[in-house]
Each structure stands twice: as C-alpha cells, then as structure tokens.
C-alpha cells in the first residue's frame, strides 16, 4: 500500500510505500489518550509468485477501547461489535448507524464514514475491480478527517504524521526517470534521497483518483517514519 502525508505548512506532500507480505497486519493509528486505534491487514494480488507483487489493504480494524467498540471492514462486509454483541452489514447496504460515541455511514459499494467520540472521522473507500481480472481484487483505502482531534500521543504508521512535521528539500537533480527528479530531503535529522512523483488520492473519485504530487521516500519510508516499518507489524487487527 501507498501512504500520502499532506503537509499543509509546506503546501506539499510526502509519500512512501510499505512492502510487506500478504497477511501482515500494520498498526496505522494508535491514540492511547482517546483509546482509538486502527490497523490494516495486507493482501496481495490474486496470483502469487508475481514479480514485484503489489500489495493493498484488504481488512481494516478500528477499535475504541473506551466505548468497548470494534469495527472490522473487509472488502466483503462490515462488522460492528459493542462488547460481545455483533452487527453485520455488507457493502450492498446504504445505512446510517448511530449509537453512543459512534456514527457509521455505509454508502453502498462506495465508502464508509466512521465518526468516533467528539468528531474524529475516518473514511474507508472500497476500490472495486472487475471480478474477472486475473491479478487484482478489491481493496480498501483509509483516509483520516479532523486528525487534529486526536491526541498528541497518537502514533502509528499514519498517526505519527498527525503532528506537524518539518522537512527541507534541496539539490533537486535529474533522476533515473527523466520525468521524476531526485532531491535530497532533511527530515527528522535524516538526510534522504527522495524522488518527485505522484500518488493517487481516491477520496473524490474512487475509480480514477486524482494525482497528488509528492516527494517519495524510498525503502518503506525509512528515515521518514519513526523506527523501521517492521516495528509497526502487529499480530492482529484488534
């Protein structure tokens, strides 16, 4: 999966990929203060043994420990737990679910908007592909809205970027791909070689997406993210 970090202060964006084996679960957001955490499980393409296999999120888990609430979203269904009680929906539903501390809007075959507590919202997008395609299958995208409502203790592969981040880009030079110049970036006291590129933001157009120019950080975001990407591997989405 690819990650896009918008940096409004710089009017720019950073992006990186995390390449891991299908089945691996990554901690994306964890806020010990609000009790909210989100993890995502990686899926690969339909055919295994493909060189440079692309990976996606196929399953996301949202937990709010304070409200004893769990939400599991797969490309097939959406399951909501309050304690041990379970409610199931499919992507064929258009339904608004409201309960104390949660608002969940499922928009049939498009997206889910989850609002927890005092207004932290996440949008999960369903990317549907033609079911007979030989390689790809449906996958999910996660977007955060109002991330400023999360506490300063928030961490995770995405969550760590909810706090302001500073970086400098200099020495822009031609890269191996003439359309994608390389540059040097100073971020978190690391000097990185980055590449100018584009990634897709699918919030408005889940089918085609819109291109977001960004500085691409190589090697699974090494140097940009705190620690190594493997530090974010967890055993289960909850």
């Amino acid at each position: 999966p690819h990650f896009i970090i918008r940096v409004p202060e710089k009017e720019d964006a950073l992006c990186f990929n995390i390449n891991e084996e299908p089945g691996v679960v990554l901690n994306l957001i964890r806020d010990p203060s609000t009790g909210i955490s989100i993890s995502g499980q990686i899926i690969g393409e339909k055919k295994v043994n493909v060189k440079n296999q692309k990976t996606y999120f196929g399953r996301l888990g949202i937990v709010n420990t304070r409200a004893d609430l769990k939400i599991e979203v797969t490309t097939q269904k959406i399951t909501l737990w309050k304690g041990l009680d379970q409610t199931n929906f499919t992507w064929m539903n258009t339904v608004m679910v409201k309960q104390e501390g949660l608002s969940l809007q499922i928009n049939r075959k498009k997206n889910i908007v989850v609002s927890i507590g005092d207004g932290v919202s996440f949008v999960i997008i369903l990317h549907q592909v033609w079911k007979n395609l030989p390689y790809h299958h449906d996958f999910l995208g996660l977007y955060t809205v109002d991330s400023h409502r999360m506490s300063v203790q928030t961490h995770g592969l995405l969550g760590q970027f909810f706090h302001p981040i500073d970086f400098e880009v200099f020495d822009v030079r031609p890269g191996s791909d003439p359309s994608k110049p390389d540059a040097t970036m100073m971020v978190k006291n690391h000097k990185l070689t980055v590449t100018r590129g584009w990634q897709k933001d699918y919030r408005k157009d889940p089918r085609h997406g819109s291109e977001v120019p960004c500085w691409f950080i190589h090697n699974n975001g090494a140097g940009l993210i705190d620690g190594s990407h493997t530090d974010y591997i967890v055993s289960d989405i909850f």
């Binding site: 009680d85 064929m92 339904v95 608004m96 309960q99 949660l102």
Partner: protein, 622 residues
C-alpha cells in the same frame, strides 16, 4: 399389473373421466398467481354431476372462475356482497343456490362447484386466485392441497418463480411423496428464476399397483427465499412500486415478555398439559438478556414474581418449576390478568429495571370468554387500550373454538399485536412454540419507512412496531409523478445496539426497464400486489373502528375489491350454472376467521360424482 376385466379405463369413475388437472403457479416478487384447470367428460349414458373442488389458502383472494360446458363458458361475476346477496336470497327462496367457499382446516378454504353435465358432454373448470406470499421464519411458502378424487390422465403442477433479487433456495415437498413420485418432481433455480414441476403418470398416481384410487392426497408445499445482499429491494412496474425490506445479521433486541395464561377450569387436561409443554420449551429458548414473568388468571390472578425477572439460568430453572406446578381452577378473569401484566411492564420501564434498548410484549393465552370480574368485552378492550397506550404489542392466542375470537383479535389489533388461533390438536404445543418463535427475535423496533412526500401516494402500512428475524416488511404504493427519475426510501428503526437508517436509492427508469425485460412477469403484478395489500390492511383496520371511519374504510376496500376482481369479505362471486336447463346461481364468499364453523363432513362428501337424491344447498358461515 393384475388382469382385470374392465369396460372402462381406470380414469373413469362413476361415468366421469377427468382428462387433466393442471395447477399453474406464477410467482413474481412474492405475488402468486395460481390457475387451477380441470377438464372432464361424462362417459355415462345419462346426465351426471361433475364436481370441481380446490382448497386454497385463507390469505388468498379468488379472482376468477369459469366453467365451460361443451364450448359454452359460464363465468363467475364478482359483485358487492349486498348486491350478490339479493340475487342469492332470491335464489335461496327458490331453493336454487349453493355456497361455494368454506373454511377448511387451519390454513385453507375450500372452493367447490358441481354441475350436471349431459351424457357425452365435456366440462372445463378454471379457478384463479392470487396471494402475496409472506416470509415466515426465513422462507416464503406456497401451499397446495392435492386431493383428486380419482386417477387423472394428465396431472401436473408447474410453478415458475421470478424474483428480481435472485433466488437463494428453493424446495418442494409433498406429504404423499414416495420414491417413485420423487422421480417426477423436479425443482431447479438459477439466478432470478426458479421452477418446480410435478407430473406423475397415471400408474404413479395409483395408491397401489392395481388400485384405481389415487395416491395423491395431501399437502404439496413449495418453499423458497431470495438473496439478501442488500436489506431492501424496490421494484417498479407501470407506476406502482413495491418495497421489500428484510435486513439480516442484526443482533436481537432484548425483550421483556409477560405470559398471561388462562388457567380456568376449562383448561383442564390436555390443554393445560400442552400449554405447560409449550411454556417449558419457550423457557429453554429464552436468552439471558430477556426479562419475563407469568401471570395466571382464573377467577383470581396469581403471579410468579412481583416484578419482571431476568432470564438467568437460575431464574429459568425456577420458572420451569413454577410452570410444571400450574393447576387449573375457577373461572375466566381476562381483564384482571391482562391489567396486571400491563402494569408490570409499565412499572418495569418506569423504574428502569429493564434495559433501555429492549422491547416489551404481552402474550395472552385463553380458551374461553371472560365470565368473572369485568366481563364486558368493550370495557376490557377499553381498559387494555388505555393501560397499554400503544407502548407495546399484545398478542392473543385463542385456544380452541369455545371463545370470542373477534374480541381477542380486535383487542390485539388495537394494541399493535395480532391474534392467532391455537387449534385443539396433538400439535397445539408446537403451534404455541411456533408463534413464540415468530415474535421471539425482534431485530428492529419502531420501524418507519419514509419516502419523499410528493413522489408517491396511496402507500400501504409504512410503520411497524417490530421487525422480526425471518420476516419481511412489504410496502407498496403508487408513483405520483410518472416522469420521476429517482427517489429515496429510508427505513428507520431502533436496533439492539444502535439506531439504524437504511437508505435505498431507486432509479425509477432503470428499475422499471429491468423488470419489463423479464418474460416471467405478468405486467400489472405490482399494481395487483398493491391492491391486495391495501385491501388486506383496510379490512384489518376496519375491525378496530366504528361509525363513519368504518364506512369509509369499507367503501375503499370494496371499491378496490371490485376494481381488481378479488373475492374478499366484502364481495361475492356469483356463478351461474346450468342445471336441468334452468340456470342456477351459486355464490363464492370468503369465510371469516372470526366466525369459524365446525366443518361438516356432509359437505365434504356430498359431491362424489353421484348425483344427490336432491340438490344439496349450503350457505357460507359469514
């Protein structure tokens, strides 16, 4: 086969040969259109009486009947009951009329017509009836009673089912099925279409290898369900829409149940034994989040506990002991029993003893009429209505026939519940449990279906106190604007954990086009489905009101019954049949559940191809 000397083939009985009986069922979006056609010929040297009888579900409305004798067709005409009655009374006074439809058992009504046919003459009977199949414990069921009086050259049941949501399961079975007959029963479904066919040969119909009696005697049932990827489905044809709603995988809303049980002397013996068995089984199925209590009424009222009790394993054990020790005694004080139950539920809600997100209900079982305490039915109804104030439903189970079912039904309907008769039979305990199973799993409460105000009109009931697992909410209506491109249907309800609003966006043109392309459907089925549902609900509402309101509801239901040719409790079908060169009239009326009559065996046996000594005349119960 044994060697027998026969002058006539086995298909001829008392001079009558039945060529064929064909039952064709076309179901489109739960709306069943059934056509039963029988062709027969009089092989005797003299005139003979030929009978045609069909048992159809009580929930069905007859829409057409014709009788064709030697090429001349005698159609049935559907008229307002009063108009038909005048004709009918005139005919009765001349001793020339016969009632055609009569209640038959628990689920069925029997339509019978018989006609004298000259030697060598042929007759074709065709009966059409329609019915909206109701989803019950996760399945739609179509019930056909099969009971030919003799072997038939061509016997056939054909059912074509078309469901735009796609069929998820389909089955057909018969109580008379043998391994041999299984070979001629085919059932298949794929995508939106399902098909059932049953065509036994003449030999396969024989009750034994050389018998001339038919093995086909019993119930033929087709069950199916549809795919439910989406909780709702809206279909539109010719400006009418139907909206089906049945979400799944929602947690069950905890319930607070008060069982108000009649233990008067008349419950002595088998009835009380069966009631206890049913209650013990129901207790086993209770969930720990539920609350319950038992209120027993005879001349007095006794309670198991003073307040509602949580269904913990310990409490359920105690409840079972209580049930086992129930004894019959005294008379029937319905009023005090019900009032005690209602008070208990109201107090539990006020004192927050029961969960905030839970639903309450009262299930009353009685086998008799109120005869002690407040025994005026109107006063009991008023007391109950005022005490419940629409806050929860009351379900009334009437055990047997010796009771005022109209009173029980009216009281239940007034309080958003329903009444059900428990037949005094070996399976009465199962009937009680079955009823409990239907109402035991509410998934949503206070369900309201909303449409844009200006887009639709004449909608059927759109709010329900409960949605039960395995059932389905059906709302139909008319589109006001024929050029409407789309509209949105919202279904709001309270679940066990959350408030839910299901939204269905309907592309009118696309939906209509998709349906019209299907050959399976009969063009105006949604309009007829809407009319059927509207009439049914108007008739039900009519039971609760008086005066002008009742007249208005009656007028509306009557108008629709006549417009759509339905034999409902407000209309009659007059069949003119030739008898000895004199035209004779018979009337098909819809019998009413509230006024059951003992089934007379003489009626059931009078038409067996032997001309009665004199014509047999009968008037229906309603």
């Amino acid at each position: 086969r044994s060697f027998r000397k026969r002058s006539l083939p086995d298909t001829v009985l008392n001079g009558i040969e039945v060529y064929s009986t064909k039952i064709s069922c076309k179901v489109t979006s739960r709306f069943a259109h059934n056509v039963v056609v029988t062709r027969a010929v009089n092989r005797a040297d003299t005139a003979k009486e030929i009978s045609f009888d069909v048992e159809l579900p009580k929930t069905a409305f007859i829409t057409s009947f014709t009788m064709t004798i030697d090429g001349v067709t005698y159609p049935g005409n559907i008229k307002e009951k009063e108009v038909a009655k005048k004709q009918y009374d005139k005919a009765v006074s001349q001793g020339k009329t016969a009632g055609l439809v009569k209640a038959s058992g628990r689920k069925l009504e029997k339509f019978t017509v018989s006609v004298n046919v000259a030697a060598g003459s042929k007759v074709t009977f065709e009966l059409i009836y329609e019915e909206l199949l109701k989803r019950h414990l996760g399945k739609y069921e179509m019930f056909l009673k099969i009971q030919p009086k003799q072997l038939i050259n061509h016997f056939e049941i054909e059912a074509d089912i078309f469901e735009p949501q796609g069929i998820s399961s389909l089955d057909a079975e018969a109580t008379f099925m043998t391994n041999d007959l299984l070979g001629v029963l085919t059932k298949s479904f794929s995508g939106k279409k399902g098909h059932v066919s049953f065509k036994p040969t003449l030999d396969q119909q024989r009750s034994c290898s050389n018998c001339t009696t038919s093995l086909l005697n019993g119930d033929f049932t087709i069950t199916y369900d549809v795919n439910r990827e989406s909780p709702a489905n809206v279909q539109i044809v010719n400006g009418y829409f139907v909206h089906f709603f049945a979400p799944k995988d929602l947690p069950v809303v905890p319930k607070n149940v008060v069982f108000v049980i009649d233990v008067s002397g008349s419950m002595y013996g088998r009835k009380l034994v069966q009631t206890k068995e049913a209650l013990l089984k129901i207790l086993e199925d209770m969930k720990e989040e539920d609350y319950l209590n038992f209120i027993l009424f005879s001349s007095d009222v006794t309670v198991w506990k003073d307040t509602l009790i949580k269904a913990t394993p310990e409490n359920l054990k105690e409840a079972k002991d209580f049930v086992k020790n129930i004894q019959d005694q005294g008379m029937t004080n319905i009023n005090d029993g019900l009032m005690r139950g209602i008070k208990m539920l109201n107090e539990a809600r006020e004192a927050n003893v029961i969960p905030k997100r839970s639903t309450s209900l009262i299930i009353m079982l009685t086998d008799g009429e109120a005869n002690v305490g407040e025994s005026r039915v109107e006063k009991i109804q008023e007391n109950v209505r005022n005490a419940i104030e629409g806050k929860f439903p009351l379900y009334n189970l009437g055990f047997g026939y010796n009771l005022n079912y109209d009173f029980l039904e009216k009281m239940a309907l007034e309080n958003h519940g329903l009444a059900r008769r428990i037949y005094e039979d070996s399976d009465a305990d199962l009937q009680m449990q079955g009823f409990y199973d239907e109402v035991a799993n509410p998934l949503l409460v206070d369900v309201e279906v909303q449409y844009p105000e200006n887009a639709i009109a004449d909608i059927t009931q759109n709010n329900y106190q409960h949605f039960y697992d395995g059932s389905e909410i059906v709302v139909a209506g008319r589109l006001v604007d024929q050029d409407l491109n789309s509209f949105t249907a919202d279904v709001k309800g309270q679940g066990a954990l959350n408030d839910l609003t299901f939204t269905e966006e309907v592309d009118v043109k696309e939906t209509e086009k998709a349906l019209k392309e299907q050959k399976y459907i009969f063009g105006d089925f949604i309009e007829r489905l809407w009319a059927y549902l509207t009439i049914q609900q108007l008739l039900e509402k009519r039971k609760n009101v008086q005066g002008e309101e009742k007249e208005n509801l009656t007028a509306q239901a009557l108008e629709l019954s006549l417009k759509y040719h339905f034999v409902t409790p407000l209309t009659s079908m007059v069949v003119t049949k030739p008898e000895d060169n004199i035209e004779q009239e018979a009337v098909a009326d819809k019998p009413l559940e509230g006024k059951p009559e003992p089934i007379t065996s003489s009626y059931a046996t009078q038409y067996h191809h032997q001309p009665p000594a004199k014509p047999y005349y009968y008037v229906d119960g309603d």
